[in-house]
């Protein structure tokens, strides 16, 4: 069996491996604590509180909700963003399926389409819907965000939804939707800094950066609290490392 240390000395990414191992250990540790019912505090994020209220509002008014899922591929570098989009879709789908008004969605990533269809069908089943829809309410709008925005715009003009959830890599094209349908409540989330700046001014409720990826912990997945605490712990470690590095480099001890 090859020992680990010589493996790290070759053509490897040792720092990446060490960071992944540390984070993996922290995620495992804190997830087990979360499973055991350990108390962990969360700072309030308004967008997720409002999302729960949205489901109640949609139930009372029997209004539909639209989701613009963006171009994040579940098998590519946008995997986390795609997961966040599916998480929100599942939450809303599960909470308003019984109203009989389906969540409608559009995406411009072909691989995200079957994933979203499966997620929504499962969410409707878990809401007690005996015959969940087959996912036909989710459409693919071609591989360009602009096409997706046009498709979403038409669907929103026809259905007059209560809200529009824009999560994932929706791009600047999301602005077309917010400005053409000001009467709709636009929930926007992006982990792309450039998109985030635009969505911050355009969306009614916006979540940017890593907060997009922490939706599960806030909504209906308490197990995600573990990974959230692990992230924060590693962030503190990295901040200290950066500060130490800056001081060391400034006084000439390193670099």
């Amino acid at each position: 069996m090859t020992p680990l240390v010589p493996l790290l000395s070759g053509n490897t990414e040792p720092i990446a491996l060490i960071v992944i191992l540390i984070l993996g250990a922290l995620v495992a540790l804190f997830t087990l604590r979360a499973r055991g019912g350990g108390r962990m505090a969360l700072r309030p994020l308004r967008v997720y509180q409002r999302l729960s209220e949205l489901c109640s509002q949609a139930t009372e008014s029997a209004a539909t909700v639209f989701a613009t899922l963006g171009s994040s591929a579940p098998e590519g570098s946008g995997m986390a963003s795609a997961q966040a989009a599916l998480m929100l879709l599942r939450f809303v789908g599960r909470n308003i399926a019984h109203t009989g008004r389906p969540v409608r969605a559009t995406t411009c990533d072909a691989a995200l389409l079957p994933a979203a269809q499966g997620t929504l069908t499962q969410a409707e089943r878990s809401d007690g819907l005996r015959h969940p829809r087959t996912g036909s309410q989710i459409s693919f709008a071609g591989p360009e965000p602009l096409g997706m925005a046009v498709e979403a715009e038409c669907a929103m003009a026809d259905d007059a939804p209560l809200a529009n959830l824009m999560v994932g890599d929706v791009g600047a094209e999301a602005l077309l939707l917010t400005e053409m349908h000001p009467g709709v409540i636009h929930y926007a989330g992006s982990d792309d800094p450039a998109d985030g700046a635009l969505l911050q001014i355009a969306g009614d409720e916006t979540v940017i950066g890593e907060d997009v990826l922490s939706g599960g912990a806030y909504l209906d997945r308490p197990m995600h609290m573990g990974s959230l605490v692990a992230q924060d712990t590693l962030r503190v470690v990295l901040m200290v490392a950066i500060l130490v590095g800056v001081v060391a480099a400034s006084i000439g001890l390193w670099g």
């Binding site: 070759g10 984070l23 986390a80 997961q83 038409c154 600047a172 400005e179 700046a197």
Partner: protein, 203 residues
């Protein structure tokens, strides 16, 4: 049982790809490449599924939707472009479709975004929130510093602009990216540890 097997396969495949990318083992690398190629092939088939989804959804709308005309135009354009691509691949006809139909339409719609962004910003400024105020002040400062004429007022403004981009702006973006990277890794680890099982569709 089926779900356990699917989860086990996903976890093993994920671990192999992760280790194949990080460790210099030739056989791990080959296995990782094989699995990644498989994912790419599946993604290509997903595009075919997407094409069928577009056709089905717009065929239904063309029969009884409020925008029948638009759906008919879309289906005809899609089939025509597909036929040109299949019958005359890499041809001048195919390039013509992209250069003189697709690109101008996309550019026209894209050009609208500048006005839409301005309208959105104006709406945000009218709300008079702290976020909008910060955005307004920082936008004005950057706009002022980017205009070539300002360099004539004070030659060192260029250096101020470069410092602002290199220090406060870069620091803010790097902080954001650090958090996103940690969040992405945590999401991937949740899938690897089967805390999240998107492949089985279960909660």
């Amino acid at each position: 049982m089926r779900r356990i097997m699917v989860a086990a396969f996903a976890v093993i495949a994920g671990l192999l790809v992760c280790l194949g990318l990080l460790l210099p083992s030739p056989w791990l690398g080959r296995v990782a490449d094989l699995l990644l190629e498989g994912a790419l092939i599946l993604a290509a088939f997903a595009l075919l599924l997407g094409l069928l989804n577009v056709l089905r959804s717009h065929a239904q709308k063309a029969v009884k939707g409020p925008r029948r005309g638009q759906s008919i135009v879309l289906i005809v354009a899609l089939l025509l472009t597909l036929a040109i691509g299949l019958l005359f691949p890499q041809s001048a006809a195919q390039a013509w479709v992209f250069d003189y139909v697709y690109s101008p339409i996309q550019a026209s719609l894209g050009a609208l975004l500048a006005f839409v962004a301005l309208q959105a910003a104006f709406r945000a400024f009218r709300l008079r929130t702290v976020d909008a105020a910060i955005l307004l002040v920082s936008s004005l400062i950057m706009l002022f510093l980017q205009i070539p004429a300002t360099a004539a007022l004070w030659p060192r403004l260029g250096a101020v602009r470069d410092w602002m981009l290199a220090v406060p702006v870069a620091a803010g973006i790097r902080g954001l990216l650090l958090g996103i990277a940690l969040g992405t890794m945590a999401t991937a680890l949740r899938v690897l540890f089967a805390v999240d099982r998107p492949y089985t569709g279960e909660e």
